[in-house]
């Protein structure tokens, strides 16, 4: 289904849509305020952007360096070309350890690879331990936001869900009560899991360590209780030096939620005695994106979600309207690289207002890439009704006389046609908006009379 269809469905519940907009605006506002307490904010963005440019220009070198150092730290390093390979690698590790139940902290990469259904089909219980992710998992939904997975749900929805799944009191919507119930439920799962899976926020090439950022400490809880830690990492998550974290960690949480820093920033360098750490480095279309000159710097993304919070479209259409793993502006420039046909409406789900680009902590030119994807998509679509009308339009505008005639006909038609036609279903503009009054003459006509 196309973005416009899903967006208008989302807007049907006007009160909820307004609440969704205001909730995310609140997060953006918090981000604005805290970013303005850092005098060097714009300089940090520039530095982060340059570091990521350097990473993308030397990705192979840094990845090899990372692998070498990680192996020296006794980390098992795996390479996955695509989602299937990634899932098989993870399953293989689980089978080697006769593991039937795992806990997993937030990882958009595993969403991208559809790891959960794959493991479940192979008889493994998967428990997402991030509270928001656990909520959407109960509902059998994907996350609707990469940082705030259950942002589309209200307290009442969660109260009802927990009553059904965790036997909480019916009608009790107190967040502390509900969180406590989730905590008890998850603790049991943490204690039973032999393997914990996490995502990776940053892989440090010079040390072979990686960093996982959470607010709930669920990644740490899972990893410390399990014998085996599997970290799934997109190859673009590499940074050259440990000291670069000083830039990225200052930007990440401030951009994401308006916090000075995520509550837990855990560095994993080598396994504790008797334990194992595996890291799966995943490509899954990333090198292909790297080869697209106009779109490669979408790979600079650190998954803060700020572009979603600021996007006037996302706020009013919700994460599911995009139908892609990563929704919002960044999703709309990443997804067409994976399947241009399936995601062809996403680059058009924007007014090109540019807010996403200005909010991005690594300065990805998101709205310019949306514009560029539009150009690619129309080329891929070839000749259709719209492209014919655009060709005609170019013909009109390239020839002053044709323009004059068409303009006069357009204004003439508006004058003559009764409102019933102008505002009929055929006229989408007029459905909820009046048209401007038709002037007696064009500027051109006026100018001829008054200035020549």
């Amino acid at each position: 289904m196309s973005h416009p269809t899903k967006a208008s469905e989302f807007l049907q519940d006007a009160a909820k849509a307004k609440w969704h907009d205001e909730t995310l605006w609140f997060v953006r506002d918090k981000r604005d305020n805290i970013s303005k307490t850092i005098p060097e904010w714009e300089e940090l963005r520039e530095l982060a952007s340059q570091i990521k440019d350097n990473v993308l220009a030397n990705l192979e070198t840094y990845l090899v360096e990372f692998e070498k150092n990680a192996k020296a730290n006794n980390i098992h390093v795996h390479w996955a070309k695509n989602a299937e390979e990634h899932n098989q690698i993870v399953l293989g590790i689980l089978q080697n350890h006769q593991c039937k139940a795992i806990v997993k902290s937030k990882s958009i990469l595993t969403e991208e690879c559809h790891l959960n259904p794959f493991l479940e089909n192979n008889g493994i219980e998967v428990v997402d331990t991030d509270l928001g992710e656990r909520i959407v998992q109960f509902l059998n939904q994907p996350p609707s936001h990469i940082v705030l997975p259950a942002i589309h749900l209200k307290k009442r929805d969660i109260s009802e869900l927990f009553h059904e799944k965790l036997q909480t009191e019916k009608g009790n919507e107190d967040p502390t009560y509900l969180t406590h119930a989730a905590r008890i439920h998850l603790r049991e799962k943490f204690l039973g899991a032999k393997v914990a899976i996490t995502g990776v926020n940053f892989g440090v090439a010079e040390t072979g360590e990686f960093v996982v950022c959470t607010n709930e400490g669920n990644a740490d809880m899972g990893v410390h209780l399990a014998d085996v830690h599997i970290a799934c990492m997109g190859i673009e998550k590499i940074i050259p030096r440990r000291k670069d974290l000083g830039i990225f960690l200052r930007l990440l949480a401030r951009s994401a939620t308006g916090q000075p820093i995520t509550n837990y920033n855990s560095h994993f360098r080598s396994p504790a005695p008797g334990k194992e750490i595996h890291i799966v480095l995943v490509d899954n279309g990333r090198t292909e994106q790297l080869g697209r000159e106009k779109f490669k710097n979408s790979l600079k993304c650190i998954r803060c979600g700020a572009c979603m919070n600021t996007c006037p479209i996302y706020r009013r259409s919700g994460g599911y309207s995009y139908g892609s793993v990563v929704p919002g502006p960044i999703g709309s420039i990443l997804s067409p690289g994976l399947d241009v046909k399936k995601y062809s409406t996403l680059p058009f789900a924007s007014t090109l207002c540019g807010s996403c680009t200005d909010v991005c902590p690594v300065k990805i030119n998101i709205h310019e890439q949306l514009y560029e994807w539009r150009q690619e998509i129309t080329k891929a679509q070839g000749t259709n009704t719209k492209s014919i009308s655009m060709k005609i339009a170019n013909g009109i505008f390239a020839v002053p006389f044709a323009y004059k005639i068409t303009g006069a006909m357009m204004r003439g038609a508006l004058k003559i046609l009764p409102d019933s036609i102008t505002y009929s279903g055929l006229n989408i503009w007029g459905k909820q908006r009046d048209l401007p009054e038709t002037p007696k003459e064009t500027f051109k006509d006026w100018y001829k009379k008054n200035r020549k």
Binding site: H3, D32, R316, G354, R374, I396, A398, Q432, K448
Partner: protein, 278 residues
């Protein structure tokens, strides 16, 4: 009434004081030719915005002419994904405005298109580069080139300013709420020179109105919702007149407000400035 301008930052020695009608003005250097670019939808639907722009520039001492052969900049096609189909339009635009020292338009969006998205015309790269340097949106031409600092005129109304995205974030006509930068607004800088004008602060200072060209039609539901939300911000803050530098956004907002019988008036910033100082 007087219009004082600290005009033009170069060639100050050739400024001439003139008395035309009631205005005391600095005249633009005689060798500067200004071409007026009136976007196609302004020409067709909002001729008054074009007239106000022309009259305003003339009152400020500029020698302005409107090349009759002009059509459209190509933006509607390019933003819909058909930039490659606008070579003819772009070439025509370039030829039409080749001989002017400055090109001024009452639209940030169209100016941004010319600068950022018009396709390269083989063999005319130099001319295109020069065009990008000399084309200006109206308010930035007034504040940055003419350096208008003291407009004498009165406009006793509560005015809400819609910072249209392409001018705002694309041409940086004002500080953007996402960025850590000192406040500025070229629109406010001009409007605040008028006596009695009350600049109304909004809750969301630079949120998009949802027009977005073909977006207004392809994503109709979202577009209208975004427009309604913008209008609400202006209405709850007691705005009488909503203004801005792009009449396309205003056309969209006005269309929604009219349909819902909301008590707001709409004017392009050129109309306010031109009306106030005459």
């Amino acid at each position: 009434m007087f219009v004082d301008i600290l005009a033009f930052n170069v060639q100050a020695n050739i400024f001439q004081y003139l008395n035309i009608h009631k205005y005391r003005i600095h005249k633009m250097p005689l060798n500067k030719k200004i071409g007026l670019f009136i976007p196609c939808y302004v020409d067709q639907f909002y001729p008054n915005v074009g007239i106000a722009t022309l009259e305003l520039l003339e009152k400020l001492g500029c020698q302005v002419s409107y090349p009759m052969g002009q059509t459209c900049c190509g933006q509607p096609m390019a933003n819909a994904g058909y930039e490659w189909d606008t070579i003819g339009t772009t070439k025509h635009f370039l030829k039409t405005f080749l001989d002017y020292d400055y090109i001024v338009a009452p639209s940030g969006s169209c100016v941004l298109h010319i600068k950022d998205h018009a396709p390269a015309i083989p063999g005319m790269e130099k001319e295109q580069e020069s065009l990008h340097q000399k084309i200006f949106e109206l308010t930035e031409f007034l504040t940055d080139i003419l350096k208008v600092e003291t407009l004498h005129g009165s406009f006793p109304h509560r005015v809400g300013f819609h910072a249209s995205c392409h001018g705002h974030r694309g041409l940086r006509l004002g500080s953007c709420s996402e960025r850590n930068e000192p406040f500025y607004s070229k629109g406010k800088q001009l409007l605040e020179q008028l006596d009695g004008l009350e600049w109304v602060e909004l809750t969301r200072t630079d949120e998009c109105c949802g027009f977005g060209g073909t977006f207004a039609v392809t994503e109709e539901a979202l577009s209208v919702q975004m427009g309604k939300d913008r209008l609400e911000d202006h209405l709850t803050h007691g705005v009488e007149i909503l203004t801005g530098g792009d009449i396309s956004c205003i056309m969209h907002l006005e269309g929604i407000a009219k349909r819902n019988q909301q008590p707001l008036e709409f004017m392009h910033i050129a109309e306010i400035l031109n009306q106030a100082i005459s």
